[in-house]
């Protein structure tokens, strides 16, 4: 367990240094833990656990957009679980539940390595359509059609820089739409 948390911290440091593959591996690695924690929280609140994937995606977006608030000298897991807890509480509140989220909903799931499994999620996809055209095109190309930034730039006849900007703005837009829900 200790080993996994240390690995996350190292991956996040590499990610900050510009290693995209490390970042991808980190997000892949934390997702099953986040999913198990979200399910645990939903179950505790008497909610159907099949909504967990929307919460997981909301957490991942927040992790991504707020990662500059992580102190590279501190371990990554407590920061991650604090973001996750906030998002779980928000999600439960939006569903009209006033529930106390157990501090350990996320960290406890570290112990029993949960299985990898992706459920359908609808919220992020639904908000995709509310984005400005250009951002939607870029996200569609990268997220749904699995194109690279370079391919997307060629396809939409944009510069790679413009694709990057639209991508980042699109992700920021999605996060704020999720928040306003």
């Amino acid at each position: 367990m200790r080993g996994r948390e240390d690995e996350w911290t190292d991956l996040m440091r590499s990610a900050n240094a510009g290693d995209n593959a490390a970042y991808h591996r980190l997000l892949k690695g934390v997702t099953p833990v986040l999913r198990a924690g979200a399910r645990r929280g939903l179950a505790r609140a008497g909610q159907p656990v099949d909504q967990s994937e929307d919460i997981v995606q909301d957490i991942l977006l927040a992790v991504h957009l707020k990662r500059h608030t992580w102190d590279p000298n501190a371990p990554f897991a407590p920061w991650l679980f604090a973001i996750a807890r906030n998002k779980l509480i928000d999600a439960l509140r939006r569903r009209g539940r006033r529930v106390f989220v157990n501090i350990d909903d996320f960290s406890e799931t570290l112990a029993d390595a949960p299985a990898e499994e992706t459920l359908p999620a609808s919220e992020v996809t639904a908000h995709l359509n509310g984005l400005p055209q250009r951002q939607r095109d870029v996200l569609q190309s990268i997220a749904v059609d699995s194109a690279s930034i370079k391919e997307t730039a060629a396809k939409l006849s944009m510069t790679e820089g413009a694709v990057r900007v639209a991508l980042h703005r699109g992700l920021t837009g999605l996060a704020s739409k999720l928040r306003k829900e």
Partner: protein, 213 residues
């Protein structure tokens, strides 16, 4: 978009980094301080006897206290912009400006035997202006601070907002102190504090709305 797609997309965006909240807060305040200063110069101005006043340690103490409040509130609000942070013992830092005022009160009592009686010193002659001017001068600073702190991820947005209020009140009070002719630490402890609490309340209310991430 399934979660694997989202993860791939986030990884593609890894190269776009946000600036740190601290840098942004600094930049926002550098822009907002001149606005409040202009408001101060246009509406109030420095008190006419400022040259004499500067020889009075109690006049100087006002600036030390208000700047200490601003500095502490900046540090605490940056701390609170991290999601895993809690207020905890950091709240005790607020004792520093009050401790400085306490030292000033003892000094006033022992060094100035001919001081005015306590109620006169507390009530002073500017209490109402103080309660209006400090909150007004702090508004541009508060707006700037909240704008910067939106980049953060506070788990308790209202508390972070309250500290944004305190930091802007501290800076605004530093300006106002140059106008105010009441130098007694008793006056400062009463009215400046009350003004700071008002701004902190505004900050908490605004923060609970705009600082949620």
């Amino acid at each position: 978009m399934d979660t694997n797609d989202l993860i791939r997309t986030l990884a593609a965006d890894n190269e776009t980094h946000e600036r740190s909240v601290g840098h942004l807060l600094l930049a926002a305040l550098v822009l907002a301080v001149p606005v409040s200063t202009l408001m101060f110069l246009a509406g109030l101005g420095v008190r006419p006897d400022v040259m004499t006043a500067m020889r009075n340690p109690l006049f100087d103490l006002k600036f030390i206290v208000t700047m200490a409040l601003a500095a502490i509130a900046i540090v605490v609000s940056l701390h609170l912009s991290r999601p895993e942070a809690s207020l905890g013992r950091w709240a005790w830092l607020l004792a520093v400006p009050f401790g400085l005022l306490g030292i000033g009160m003892v000094g006033e009592m022992t060094m100035m035997p001919h001081r005015a009686p306590m109620p006169v010193r507390i009530i002073g002659s500017n209490s109402r202006l103080c309660l209006v001017a400090i909150p007004l001068l702090s508004l541009p600073l508060l707006a700037a601070a909240l704008f910067a702190l939106r980049r953060g991820a506070p788990s308790r947005p209202a508390v972070a907002g309250a500290f944004a209020g305190l930091l802007s009140a501290g800076l605004a009070a530093t300006l106002y102190a140059a106008h105010c002719t009441d130098d007694s630490p008793m006056f400062v402890a009463t009215w400046y504090s009350l003004a700071a609490v008002i701004v902190a309340a505004i900050g908490a209310f605004a923060g609970s709305r705009v600082l949620k991430f």
